[in-house]
Structures are given as structure tokens and as C-alpha cells.
Subunit: 141 residues, 2 copies
């Protein structure tokens, strides 16, 4: 199920398989999308010895390796998620709720941009801001 075997991915680069790395990746996959701090919390729940610093370093490493990506959802909270879990984020500016939709919705737009401007949109990195059904309703109050 876990599409990318971590040990292999690391070995392929002459890097090492360690507990913190394993745990951080699992946390990323489990939480779906989370800030470095939230990930640290989650990891700490299992292994108390993990340092926030290590989470940052590990995330940076994983990002270079293409295992995770990060996006800015709300106000300056960088959010990490597994690269093999591609989806578009719908961030509600009213209630802060983050919803997800498949990337296929962006396909037409991506095609247009590629054709028109030669710009290759990274569809796994998209966050759209707006108002969800509930908050849009309240807005008309």
C-alpha cells in the first residue's frame, strides 16, 4: 500500500534508514496534511525522543527526495503531505476547514496553461481559497 519503500528510497541515495525518518514519513501519511509542529506532536506520541529540529531536517530531506511536498494553506502555516497523495486543497477562509478534491478537476486548466504559456502546473501543490458552502451561506446573513 505504501507505494514508496522508504529504506530503498534512502539506500538509493546512500542515505540511512533511521527510526525518526520512518516515523516522520508515517506521520505525514497518517495526518494527510500537517504543519511541522503537528507532525512533531504526532511523532512524539510514539517516540518521545524525537526533536523538532529533526522533523524539520527530515521533512526537508524528504522534500528533496520527492517523498513529500509542502503547500501554504492558511496564513503562513506550511503544510506537508505525502507526494503520492496528490489532491487539490480547498481552504475555507471562513471556518478554516480544508477540503480536498481530485486533481482531475485541474486537468483542463493545466492543459490550457501548458498550451498557452508553457507553464506546467504542479497539480499536487494547489491550494484554492474561498468559502465553503456553510460559510458562504452565513456570509449572506
Amino acid at each position: 500500500m505504501t507505494s514508496t519503500p522508504l529504506p530503498d528510497a534512502l539506500r538509493a541515495r546512500g542515505l540511512r534508514m533511521t527510526a525518526p525518518r520512518q516515523l516522520v514519513l508515517e506521520a505525514v501519511r497518517r495526518l494527510g496534511h500537517a504543519t511541522p509542529e503537528q507532525l512533531h506532536d504526532e511523532v512524539t506520541r510514539t517516540a518521545a525522543g524525537i526533536n523538532l529540529t529533526t522533523v524539520y531536517r527530515t521533512l526537508e530531506l524528504f522534500e528533496q527526495m520527492g517523498l513529500v511536498t509542502h503547500t501554504h494553506l492558511s496564513h503562513g502555516a506550511p503544510t506537508y503531505h505525502a507526494a503520492d497523495d496528490q489532491h487539490v486543497h480547498l481552504v475555507c477562509r471562513g471556518c478554516g476547514r480544508v477540503d480536498e478534491v481530485g486533481t482531475e478537476l485541474l486537468a483542463p486548466l493545466a492543459a490550457t496553461l501548458a498550451d498557452d504559456r508553457g507553464f506546467a502546473v504542479d497539480v499536487g501543490h494547489v491550494a484554492l481559497f474561498g468559502l465553503c458552502r456553510d460559510c458562504a451561506g452565513e456570509g449572506s446573513r
Copy 2:
């Protein structure tokens, strides 16, 4: 050209028209999109006495008033731009260049999301990440 008269907008809320506010708004409009620090630089070029703090406070105020909005373009750099200058940002992850396209490209997508999920996308707040024509070319090197 300046579609919203600042003094009026401020007075309408019982707020005051001051030099810093005038300057910050002008800077936002002139730069198109910029970080708080860049705006501070720009403002300082004209009036040396303006404090970074004031820029932050003024931007926050303007945002509440709906005069400017902010988006996160690259890695955690909040970028402000005038609300009446709506466009979609195309951020190249290769060279960092920020391009702009009209919001009309998002219309079909926005319609689909509204119809499908009841989510009202704020099209003036969208940033799409990816690779521009130049960087996509180098990628195949």
C-alpha cells in the same frame, strides 16, 4: 486609475487618512505584489520615517477593509497585492519567477467547484505552482 479613493474609504469607517497609509497603498499598487519587507523598502525610499511595524499594521488594516489581499507565493513569503488587481499567480518553482494570468481561466473550474461542492473559490487569491517554459526545458537536461 486608482479605483478606490483612499481618504473616502477610510473616512467611511471613521478612520484617518495619514501619510504612511497613503504611501503603503501606493507602494502596493506600484509593486503589484510584494512582501511586507519589500513594501517597507519601497515606502522608505520616499519617506524615511516609516517603520516596518506600521507597514504590517497598515497592511492588516487594508486587508480588513478589502483594499488589499495577500497570498503565499513561494516558501513562506506572504505577498500582498491590491484587491482591485485580481489575477492568478503562476509561481515557477525552478526560477522563482512569478507570472500572472487573468482570472477568467479559473471560471470553468470555479463553476465546477461551486456546482459540485458548494465551494466558492476566491479567484483573486490563487497561486499555482509549477515550472515555467524555461525551467521545464532545463529539467529535461
